[in-house]
Every structure is written in C-alpha cells, then in structure tokens.
C-alpha cells in the first residue's frame, strides 16, 4: 500500500504540475466562460444595431395594436399618414418597413413593404405577429364573446400518459424526459472528452516509463499489479481533479451570474431527476472512464517507445467516437434499435444507456443488466490486462498492435 501511494502521488503531482494539464484545464475553463457569457462577448465584437422601425397601418375594424408590441429588436408605430407618405418614408430610410393590414374576402391580408430587404429573423418576427393577428381577426368575425375567444386561444389539452406494459414502473413526464436528456448528454460529453484526454495521458505515461527503462527499475521493487493500479488511480484522480475544477467554475458562473436566473433553470432540471438516475449516471461515468484507463495502460505497456503510443491508441479512440455519435443520433429519437444495441456494449454503454434511462420509459431491468455487463467488463478487462501487463512491460517489439500482442505472447509463453 505504501508503494502504491508513493507511485500514485508521484504520478498525480507530476501531471498536475505539467504544462499540458494546466493548459488543458484552462482551455476548458475558457470554453465554459465563452459559452456562459456569449451574449456579452458577442456584444463586444458585434455592433449593436438600432431597433427596426416598422409602421403598422390597420385598415380593418379590429383593434390589433395590442398584438404588435415593440421589443429591443423591433419598434412598432401606428401612424395615421397615408400609405404613400409612409412608403416614401421607407424609401428615404426613415422607416424600415410598412405593414399594411387589410380585410379581403373575410380574411386578413398583409403587405410588408421594404426598401432594404429585412433580415430573416426580423421577417419571421413580423410574420408570426401577423399570423396571430389573423387568428384574432378570424375569432372576431365569429362574433364570440371575449371569454369564448380567450378560451379558444389559450386552451391547452391535459395530456396524461398511461403505459400498459407492467414491467415499466410508471412512465416519465415530458419534463422528466427532457431533464434526463440534458443530463445524459452532459454525461456523454464528459465521458467523451475525458476519455480522449486521459486515455492518451495514461498510454503515453506507461509508454514513456517503459521506453526510458525506468519501468524495469521500478518493477524490481514494485509488483506489476501495484504499478498498473497506481497508473489507473493516479490518472483517474487527475480526471476527477479536472472535473472538479471545471464543474466548480461552471457552478460558480451559474449561481453568481444573471441574478441566479440560470441557477433557477438548472434547479428546475435537477428537480426532475431521481436519485436512482443520478446514481446510474455517476456509476456509468466512473466505470466507463476506468474501463478506458485500463485499456490505455495495457496499450501503453505494449509499445516500446512513447512515439508509438498514438499508433496503438487509435482503435481505442475510435470506439468512444462511435459511441458519441450514436448518443447524438438519439436527439431525435432515443429509442432506436441502434441506441438499444450500443446501450449494452460496455465501451459505449456509459454514453448511451443514461440517455435511455433518462429520456425513455425502459424497464428497470435494462439499466441493471447493462450496468452489470459494464462491471463485469471492467473486472475482466482488469484481470486480463494485469496478466498481460506483467508480460508486456518488459517486452520490446516493433510493428502494429496485433504484431506487438503476438510478440508478447510468443516470447512470454
């Protein structure tokens, strides 16, 4: 245990002080800062444009002024001048657009006159207001009472979900699914980025020690199993440290900016999450990172020098990439056969299964089964790696990954 702790400390503090780790962490923090303060940053670089000046001429008998409310982007006015005068104002640049609303065959017609074409956003804003005005006009024509008109416009259906499959314990509400979807994406993204960064770190570290022959000196006093464990836990601790820094900064931004508005939003998402779901996400996240670290250490032990590390890492990097894209494919429909399959594959289940748990109504047995498969895979991979690691760390060979494995088997059995 003493040797494990010495090796772990050495790895942890050496990497913590390394330029690459500091830069990588700062980069993540910078990305979060940009994301959180995007509107402020954008305002610095993009000139604030004046609000669009739009004149609305209502030739109908229905009062539509309350619909066209001015915003920061569009300023609506209701002048009484003739349409010709207003058009002249548009040409002279005093107005950006004139909206003429008239009655035509018991329907509302509108004409938007501009000199310089409107931007898509502004055009959409005006069009949607006109459409709403059309509904009001239509209801007005039906001679309904104000209450009746209000009921038509504001009625919302009361939707309840009933699942007749008894194996599924109570369906989730839409809010719960939405929250689950957000959290599962976050978990997937965290897994993906951490695997990419720390898989490379552990593989290169083992390869460097092996290449420098320092490993041979270490293994005289330390068992290969202790060495392997120290690498896995050391890099995992580093990943946790980086995660803590990143989430610390993120939480600070969320809590202390916008007068807590963002925090209220996050809390509404958290309120929809069950403890079981959070535990599942954490479990999948930790085990998936562990699984990749074990594989990374094993691959590092196969190469003879650090320059070869990237060569053996390629297959391991491809798998989370596939998992990541499968997870992204679930944005539209998280219940496809592809997603179901990948939610059981140990190397990708960490990214895909939390999405299925959070955003779909799956039976309780499915996540348990997938989690058990992942646990068994971690244990099996650890034992297999350990047995192989003992032999590969002192075997030097050239060629590709398969060739290296063959060489290790040939010279050690």
């Amino acid at each position: 245990m003493r040797k494990f702790s010495i090796l772990l400390k050495q790895l942890y503090f050496q990497k913590l002080r390394s330029k690459s780790f500091i830069l990588m962490t700062l980069l993540y923090v910078a990305a979060i800062t940009v994301f959180m303060f995007w509107s402020d940053i954008k305002a610095i670089f993009v000139n604030e444009e004046d609000a669009l000046e739009v004149a609305v001429v209502n030739e109908t008998t229905v009062d539509l002024e309350s619909i066209f409310n001015s915003t920061d982007d569009v300023n609506f006015s209701f002048p009484t001048e003739s349409i010709e005068t207003l058009h002249a104002n548009v040409k002279e640049g005093n107005l950006d657009a004139v909206v003429l609303i008239a009655e035509e065959n018991e329907n509302l017609s509108a004409d938007i006159a501009t000199y310089t074409p409107l931007k898509l956003n502004d055009q959409s804003t005006i069009s949607s207001l006109i459409q709403y005005a059309g509904k009001i006009y239509g209801i007005g024509n039906l001679n309904l009472s104000a209450q009746d008109a209000d009921r038509i416009l504001n009625s919302t259906p009361n939707v309840t979900m009933t699942n007749l499959n008894e194996t599924i314990a109570g369906g989730k509400s839409e809010d719960e699914k939405q929250a689950g979807m957000w959290v599962s994406y976050l978990a997937g993204i965290v897994i993906y980025f951490f695997i990419m960064a720390f898989l490379s770190m552990i593989t290169t570290d083992v390869a460097t020690e092996k290449g420098s022959r320092a490993l041979e000196m270490l293994l005289v006093s330390v068992k290969p199993s202790t060495h392997l464990q120290s690498k896995i836990f050391g890099v995992f601790l580093l990943a946790l440290t980086q995660m803590a820094i990143i989430f610390g900064v993120l939480i600070a931004y969320v809590v202390f900016t916008d007068d807590g508005a963002k925090w209220t939003m996050v809390q509404s998402v958290i309120d929809e999450l069950s403890i079981t779901y959070v535990l599942y996400v954490l479990g999948f996240l930790v085990l998936t990172i562990f699984l990749y670290l074990i594989i990374g250490a094993l691959f590092g032990s196969l190469v003879s020098k650090p320059e070869e590390a990237s060569q053996v890492m390629t297959p391991a990097i491809m798998i989370p990439l596939i998992g990541f894209y499968v997870m992204l494919s679930g944005i539209g429909n998280p219940d496809t056969l592809l997603i179901k399959i990948f939610s059981y594959i140990p190397l990708t289940s960490g990214m895909v299964m939390p999405m299925r748990i959070g955003a779909t109504d799956i039976s309780a047995i499915e996540p348990i089964l997938s989690f058990l498969v992942l646990i068994l895979s971690v244990v099996a991979c650890y034992l297999l790696s350990l047995s192989f690691y003992k032999r590969s760390v002192l075997t030097y060979s050239s060629g590709g990954l398969i060739q290296k494995i063959k060489t290790v088997l040939k010279v050690t059995t």
Partner: protein, 299 residues
Amino acid sequence: MTLQLQHVVKKYKDFTAVNDLNFTIGTGEIFGLIGQNGAGKTTTFRMILDLQDQTAGSITWEGTPIKKINRDWLGYLPEERGIFPQMKVEEQLYFFGHLRGMDRTELKKEIDFWMNRFDLEEKRNDKAETLSKGNQQKVQLIASFIHQPKFLILDEPFSGLDPVNRDLLKNAILFLKEKGMTILFSSHQMDNVEELCDHLCILKRGVSLFSGSLLDLKKQYGKTKLTIRTDVHQEDLAKMAGVKEVKKVRDEYVLTLMDESFAKPIFEVVSNGSYIEKFSLDYLSLDEIFKEKVGGEHA
C-alpha cells in the same frame, strides 16, 4: 551461500534461453556473468529479480525462494540506460529511495555522499533529460543502490562510460563490496570482470560453460602464455616444440604453448647464445579464455 541457482531453465515456445544453469554467489562477493549478446544474461537477471518466471529449477536467497524475499533487498541497473526524463536528478533519487522504504534524513545523507562521489553536485536540480549520457548513467546507477540493497545486479554497467567514469564506477563497486553488498554483474569488457570479480560464470547460448573462481578457470588453461623479448627470430620460435602460435606484439613475442611444461625447454634453447631481455610465463587473460571458450564457434 547467499544466492543459489539450481538447474534453472527458461524456455519459450520454440527457444530455450537458459538451460540448466547452476551457480552460487557468496555474501559480499562480486560475481561476473559473462557471455556474448543473446547468451541469456539478462534473462537470468530477470529471473533472479522475479521479473520473469523460470520454467524449471530454483533460485534461492539464503535458502528462501527469491520470490518470497523482501524486494527492497534487491537493486538493479538495467542494460538499457534511462531514467524519468522529466524529473530532476535529486527528485529522482528521493523517489526511488522512498519507494524502497527510506526516510528523507537517511536519503539526504546518501544522496549527498554519492552526488559528491560521482561529481554530480551541480546537476542536482537539472532535469535528467538535460544530462549527458554518462551523467544519466551515473544517476541511474545511484538510483539502483541508493537504498543500500543486500544484493545488487548491474547489467553492463561499464558500457558507454569513458575511462575516467569507468574508474569511478569500478571504485564505487569495490566500495559497495566493502560495505558488504553482494554484487552480480555482466560485462563485455573482460578486463573489468578480471579486475573486480571473485567468481564468474560463462554463458553460451543459455548454457553454462564454466562456473567458479577466476583462478580455477585460469588454472584449467594453465600458464600457457609466454612473453619473450629476445633477438631470436619469430620463425625459429614458431618451430619450437609445444608452441601453438606466435604473435609479435610491438617488440615482444607472445607464444601460446600447448602446455606449461614446454616453457622450460624453450627457455633453455632461447638462452643458449641468444640475448633475452624478458621471459615471462603467465596465465591466459580472461579475454583470451573467453574468446577461446565462447568465440571459437562463432569466429
């Protein structure tokens, strides 16, 4: 005996790296394991260090299987040179020392002593990768015995060192021996082996050709190396009875005799009317014995 190898065999699928190897090393002794490249020296070291399992046979330390002894009793300098490239020299030595259970006070004393002895004082805070090859080797060597192991294995410790550093290392090895350390080392430089070793083992393709004291090995060949400085011609010397080979080395003739007993008749013939400035009968050097024993088939 401290270390004992009995009938040790290491087999791979289609290749036997070490075959029925037997030798013993006494406490506080320097033992040389010599052989050509691929003779099985490093494999033997790795088996002793429990880095590889032997296929058969036993390796014991004071009667206890080597796998069961405290690993901190062992020290090892691998053949290939290298240390943690990014770590500072002093930091590196503290790390290896701590790993072997030493506390900071003990370590400071040892590090100060060896840094001074190996003339590395000014390099303490330098990163290992910035040191010269020779200095890196010295740091690695210190790292291998900083914890004062009972048994130290040095795989080719002299390779790549200049004559000054080679002497430094030789003296350090003798110093460690005086402190009671048992040392096993391999080298291709036979003069170093001859100078340092009490006993040795010659390996050829995994098979031991000889194991015992250096003197016993030399006695096997007898005093068959005759060096003469005389005005007798080389051709005449070559014709004399019992002479296998005559070589002229500068102003001397070096004769290889079939047997030590031929020396006296040669002396009588040469001294009869000829001038003799030097007549010296010696054992063969280890280098010559090694070439004879191992190199013969490969030459």
